[in-house]
Symmetry: C2
Subunit: 256 residues, 2 copies
């Protein structure tokens, strides 16, 4: 897939390959997070135990916002597959623009689920993937850095729903236009759902968690990721959020 070549981006086979590759990335990052405890202080807003001068937010927010500011300067958010957590803080690139050809509808950057993703990650995913419930003061920086990687991978995965939606729309304009005009949200959900494909994703994740989560040279060693949790995270959070992105994207598709 090459974002400079629109035809490769809207090819459903390429989209599926990319989603598959992202599974590995997400699992690898969850495994890195699994070495640390939950560290609630990292996510606590304006915590007096961790006072950050002139900043309104958590330690994670500070680190994530500054990472996004740096990346915005090297054009991260020009790319149609990237969605900022702090859209109001990012800056102008210091490099000449890349001028990506338009693949998605013009409103697409307005569809931003990152607040929900951050919320779900902190409240539901962290407890499932961390080592135990507790703090680790000397690792807050490492923890926040890995959290940023987890969040950015999840965000890219979930917002990829936009490409899926656009590809599906283009493949059957008539049917989708009708559903959209009728504001038939239920119908859109049904038309974008493929239960067999979802089942296959979950099965595959189970195998990957088994294989990647155990040291192959020491099978007695501890398991770094619980297959059932990974399946739960995808089934209850990642897949539903992706579909929500698809539906939101499609509902506005006749605007342009």
């Amino acid at each position: 897939m090459d974002f400079l070549k629109p035809e490769t981006v809207l090819d459903l086979k390429n989209i599926r390959d990319e989603l598959l590759r992202m599974e590995d990335t997400i699992i690898f990052k969850f495994i890195e997070r699994s070495h640390f405890p939950t560290c609630p202080t990292v996510y606590s807003k304006n915590d007096p135990k961790l006072p950050i001068r002139d900043f309104d937010g958590s330690f994670l927010d500070w680190a994530l916002m500054h990472s996004e500011i740096t990346h915005s300067r090297i054009r991260r958010f020009e790319s149609p597959d990237q969605t900022p957590f702090f859209p109001d803080s990012i800056q102008e690139p210091i490099l000449p623009s890349i001028h990506y050809p338009r693949v998605l509808a013009s409103y697409s950057s307005e569809i931003n689920f990152n607040d929900s993703i951050k919320d779900v990650y902190i409240k539901q995913i962290i407890p499932m993937i961390s080592k135990y419930d507790g703090e680790s003061w000397e690792n807050f920086g490492s923890v926040a850095t890995i959290d940023i990687e987890c969040l950015q991978s999840l965000s890219r995965r979930i917002h990829f729903g936009k490409f899926v939606a656009e590809a599906k729309f283009q493949a059957d304009r008539a049917a989708y236009s009708k559903l959209i005009q009728e504001k038939d949200i239920e119908g859109i959900y049904q038309s974008i759902t493929n239960s067999a494909v979802e089942e296959k994703i979950l099965e595959r994740l189970c195998v990957k968690a088994e294989v990647y989560g155990v040291d192959p040279t020491n099978k007695e060693g501890y398991r770094k990721i619980t297959p059932e949790y990974l399946v739960k995270i995808y089934k209850e959070l990642v897949i539903p959020l992706t579909k929500q992105v698809e539906v939101d994207y499609l509902l506005r598709r006749l605007e342009c």
Copy 2:
């Protein structure tokens, strides 16, 4: 291992566990890098094809330096296992200091192999782990971000030699003091080398590359990392650089 508890840091069993864990981290990051081509422009200093205003260095240098500046503000380089690539650019923390107890000798932060690590990474490792030789303009940001993760993991692994050296020194002060006084570099090398352990590391890496580098649900799929290359990288670069860190550290150990 807890850097707030010196006795856990100088326990050779803990050091070995930590080095083992770092193998997985390094392999996972190499796999992420393997999805992209070499991208020579990312590493080329002041390249007119990628002009960065008011900056002397490569695109990677710019991104790495800014990442280090942000991390320095949240105390990254207070931690004894962290070594900056841009020691002259890092800033004061915006948080209260952690006050790590001293574990290493006072000169330890002066032992900084990061310039060599960056050089070796760009010239020797990148060609072995990337997808093919070529550019990918729309991925320079992703590539630099992964390179930073690879470099920081390699740097942590290699500078861990300081903890290994300190633990060995404390376990046999008399013998090491004699070697150091006699400036017997060859003797120090011999005393810190354990060929059986090195052989085991290389064997383990081979297995891990086999397992982590292939999609377990599609064994016909392409291999993301070549076991022989990973072994070569450790055998010819990572292990020798770690030993150089150990020797440099030990040579000054009687200063304090």
